[in-house]
């Protein structure tokens, strides 16, 4: 059976078509813009806010978007200015960025790295965004950060907690204000040793993906340094909703502390199961059984309800910080007030980090006097600032990670309202959570050099 009916005319036609097809790419050469990708034209500048609007972290995404809108309003001179009043750098004056009015585009990451990249690419290629921010998981953060590096725009990470974002996957064009797994471990360990004693046996349940691994490793090494023993560490599938089968063996293991390296719905379910099994009423080795959740969030606390009471964990920021611990954390109240006035409830830590990232970017551009990513990178590297709600903070040049105090919190016994679910136990100062840039938990990456694109 043959389909070829080769004629002279057919052959000529075919080769002409093939030739045209092959010739096509050669005359398409790179666009030769001077300077850098998406240099703002006219009197506006476009920022891209890429947040999860659907999927498991949609609530956090919605809160991030609120914070971004508030930040843009403040940058353009609207509202009460929020943290611009308390920010130690006074470069911003409410006339946009470098006199250009700030506009923004939004997209849905769906908490999938493919969707997040598609959305970010359309912001860069279609809308001309010069900076991308947002996101609520480390997978997305790493994927979008790599994209921004290739495209030559700045990436200001939103909520991403895994070590990898500023560890093995760090990039010169990417910056993270949020804290990380190592800091959680380092901040929690001394307080755990204080509260629960130094001869504890810990049992880890770890969500089976990168963030879970880095968090387990961080908590493990920090607590073991204080004399704790790790009895067992079990990985749980990310899609697990019923953790009973994983909780039952904990009782037989002789452990007296359960560490739940879970986030979001995972954490809500595993904690609920653990409390239902009566773990917290048990006495093991003559000590009261305890549960620890390394990464806390307001939205998770709301989901877990009464089960969260008395459980220790760490946070990047909390809206009650300045009220309870004084003016070291100035900026907190200014932000909570303008957020509360606009939306009617206090902001989450995801909202805080996104707001601060936008302000830091705007400030860096203003100080550098240019939107050129390389100039912005230079302005942000080694930048020390204050008045953004976390106390004195350093953007370290070696890995583009912010170093600041870490808040250790506990589920409140008698919450007054649905936004007041956690109480601040202590704040671990920044120097206790600082690590060397080449620390083993962050090894294997390199920033490379900044890319300004076309």
């Amino acid at each position: 059976m043959s389909f070829s009916n080769l004629t002279r005319r057919g052959l000529i036609k075919t080769s002409a078509a093939a030739g045209a097809g092959l010739a096509l790419p050669t005359y398409l050469s790179a666009a030769s813009h001077a300077g850098y990708t998406n240099a703002p034209q006219g009197d506006t500048v476009t920022l891209g806010f890429n947040v999860p609007q659907s999927g498991p972290y949609a609530d956090e995404g919605a809160d991030e978007l609120r914070a971004f809108e508030l930040a843009v309003e403040h940058l353009n001179g609207g509202g009460d200015g929020g943290m611009m009043q308390t920010f130690s750098s006074k470069a911003l004056n409410g006339t946009g960025i470098l006199g250009k009015k700030v506009e923004y585009v939004t997209g849905d990451t769906q908490t999938k790295s493919d969707a997040a990249r598609a959305s970010a690419k359309s912001m860069i290629e279609k809308d001309g965004a010069v900076m991308i921010s947002g996101g609520s998981s480390s997978g997305v953060a790493v994927a979008v950060q790599a994209l921004c590096q290739e495209a030559g725009v700045i990436f200001m990470a939103g909520l991403t907690h895994a070590n990898d974002t500023t560890g093995k996957d760090k990039r010169a064009n990417g910056f993270r204000h949020f804290f990380n797994s190592y800091m959680s471990g380092a901040a929690l360990a001394p307080i755990l040793a204080n509260e629960y004693g130094k001869d504890r046996k810990a049992y880890h349940l770890t969500a089976d993906y990168n963030w879970g691994y880095t968090t387990e490793e961080a908590v493990r090494s920090s607590t073991e340094a204080f004399g704790w023993e790790t009895v067992n560490a079990v990985k749980t599938p990310l899609t697990q909703t019923d953790f009973s089968a994983y909780i039952a063996p904990v009782l037989q293991s002789g452990a007296d502390v359960l560490v739940l390296n879970h986030y979001g719905g995972n954490m809500v379910n595993s904690l609920t199961n653990a409390v239902q099994f009566g773990l917290r009423d048990k006495m093991v080795n003559g000590k009261k059984f305890e549960i620890v959740v390394p990464l806390y969030s307001e939205l998770m606390a709301r989901g877990a309800g009464a089960n969260i009471k008395g459980i220790l964990g760490s946070q990047n920021w909390d809206w009650k910080l300045e009220d309870q611990l004084g003016s070291r954390y100035s900026g907190t109240n200014a932000f909570v007030q303008s957020f509360g006035t606009k939306y009617g409830f206090p902001p989450s830590q995801a909202a805080h980090t996104c707001y601060v990232q936008t302000m830091l970017y705007a400030d860096a551009v203003t100080r550098a006097g240019s939107f050129n990513p390389c100039a912005v990178v230079e302005a942000l590297e080694g930048f020390e600032f204050d008045g953004m709600g976390n106390g004195p903070t350093l953007y370290r040049a070696d890995d583009h990670q912010c170093f600041k105090d870490v808040v250790v919190v506990k589920g409140k016994e008698n919450p007054e309202n649905e936004y007041d679910l956690v109480e601040i136990v202590e704040v671990t100062p920044a120097d206790q959570v600082t690590y060397a840039p080449d620390h083993e938990q962050f090894a294997g990456g390199s920033l490379g050099s900044c890319n300004a694109g076309a």
């Binding site: 389909f3 050669t26 398409l28 999938k112």
Partner: protein
């Protein structure tokens, strides 16, 4: 031409024209106008349109011809992607080896999956493929983290070995290329207020899609295609006549798996990263939607369906309240807010809802997909032309 009938050659020609002029067709609105929101002619979306077109064409070879509904095709796409990125990490940033190896690896993997799954048909086959795909996803997401990068996926880094490429110049990140031609290279044409972008990567992907489309036409018209249709219409009768249908269905399965691998490899070539979500069951479901929406079993349907869904996903999901307020700003305040409230649930994060509604409309009123819609419109005109003398311009429709 090319061993095709006149009709098929015409179809291929139309698709080729559409691909060639996509930058114009997808950018009908001038820059800066309110309607510019609906412009889709930027490189990333154009690339996605043709790549998912390939994916759907391949899926249609299995589903459209044999009727076997695979619910795990995203696994082959993902496996192809991982193979491609490893080629880029280890061998060279040139896309040729990456694409070839992705097709090969996806072909082998689909041979394995098909060998096992094709022992059953109907719903059991669908569930088996779904199980394989979810298994691959779970493996890639956690167990195989050292190979797949797990949650954070894989991207080329400047520290990768890449034995065929020379050392990168300082300060450069590795870029996918075809013998030096950067996939991201674009040139822009400005005509008045209109800006059209021509992207090298897009044209390469489009050329490959045309080849893939041509091959699929040949398969549809071949004896193999006939045999596959026979499987769809009555497999039992076929077996009773003494024919073993398994080699045919397996061949179709592997071919469509290779198409998926090709799409996966191209995705990496255009955007150098892989994440495990690519293999999630929703991604497998998406290609089923694409094929049905466009018209299963038709040649061009899957391409239309893929284009439709990707366009919705990328354009409608980006319309936020701000944009809506911009559109309706000419109205009085009360009505403006009312209009925004009405439309709000259907755009932005609500794009799934809009897509679902459209899908229902298509399935209910155009069971043959978008292709049937096109045919109906075509028939409308043809009938008028064929019968110009009928007094009121209408004709009686014969009962079917």
């Amino acid at each position: 031409m090319f061993g095709l009938s006149k009709r098929d050659a015409g179809l291929l020609f139309v698709v080729a024209l559409l691909c060639l002029f996509a930058p114009f067709i997808l950018n009908p609105f001038p820059e800066g106008s309110a309607m510019a929101q609906f412009n889709g002619g930027y490189p990333d979306l154009m690339q996605r349109l043709v790549i998912f077109g390939i994916f759907a064409i391949g899926f249609n070879i299995l589903f459209g011809l044999t009727g076997y509904l695979s619910f795990g095709h995203a696994a082959f796409l993902g496996v192809g992607s991982y193979a491609a990125i490893w080629m880029m990490k280890l061998l060279t940033m040139n896309v040729i080896p990456a694409i070839m190896v992705s097709v090969l690896v996806a072909g082998l993997f689909s041979l394995l999956v098909g060998w096992i799954s094709l022992r059953r048909s109907g719903i059991y086959f669908s569930i088996l493929t779904l199980a394989f795909a979810q298994m691959s996803y779970a493996l890639a997401y956690s167990v195989l983290t050292p190979i797949t990068g797990g949650e954070t996926g894989l991207q080329p880094k400047h520290t990768d070995p890449r034995i065929l490429d020379g050392a990168l110049p300082a300060g450069q990140s590795p870029r996918a290329n075809l013998f030096g031609l950067d996939m991201k290279a674009s040139t822009q044409l400005q005509l008045g207020d209109w800006v059209f972008t021509f992207n090298a990567g897009y044209y390469i992907a489009a050329a490959i899609m045309l080849v893939a489309f041509y091959l699929s036409i040949r398969i549809f018209r071949s004896p193999l295609g006939m045999m596959l249709r026979a499987v769809k219409s009555n497999q039992q009768r076929m077996n009773y006549t003494g024919l073993n249908s398994k080699p045919y269905t397996l061949a179709a399965f592997v071919i469509s798996g290779m198409y998926a691998g090709l799409a996966g490899g191209l995705l990496v070539a255009m955007d150098t990263q892989v994440g495990a979500e690519r293999m999630f069951w929703t991604a497998s479901g998406e290609v089923v939607l694409m094929t049905i929406l466009g018209g299963a079993g038709t040649l061009i349907g899957p391409i239309l369906g893929a284009g439709f869904i990707k366009y919705m996903e990328n354009i409608v999901s980006k319309i936020n309240d701000n944009v809506l307020h911009g559109w309706f700003s000419f109205m009085p305040d009360g009505i403006e807010n009312f209009m925004v409230t009405i439309i709000h649930p259907f755009v932005g994060k609500g794009w799934h809802l809009t897509l679902g509604l459209l899908f229902m409309l298509v399935v209910i009123f155009l069971p043959g997909g978008l292709v049937e819609g096109g045919q109906r419109i075509g028939n409308l005109f043809k009938r008028k032309k064929a019968d110009p003398k009928s007094p009121d311009g209408t004709t009686t429709t014969p009962a079917e």
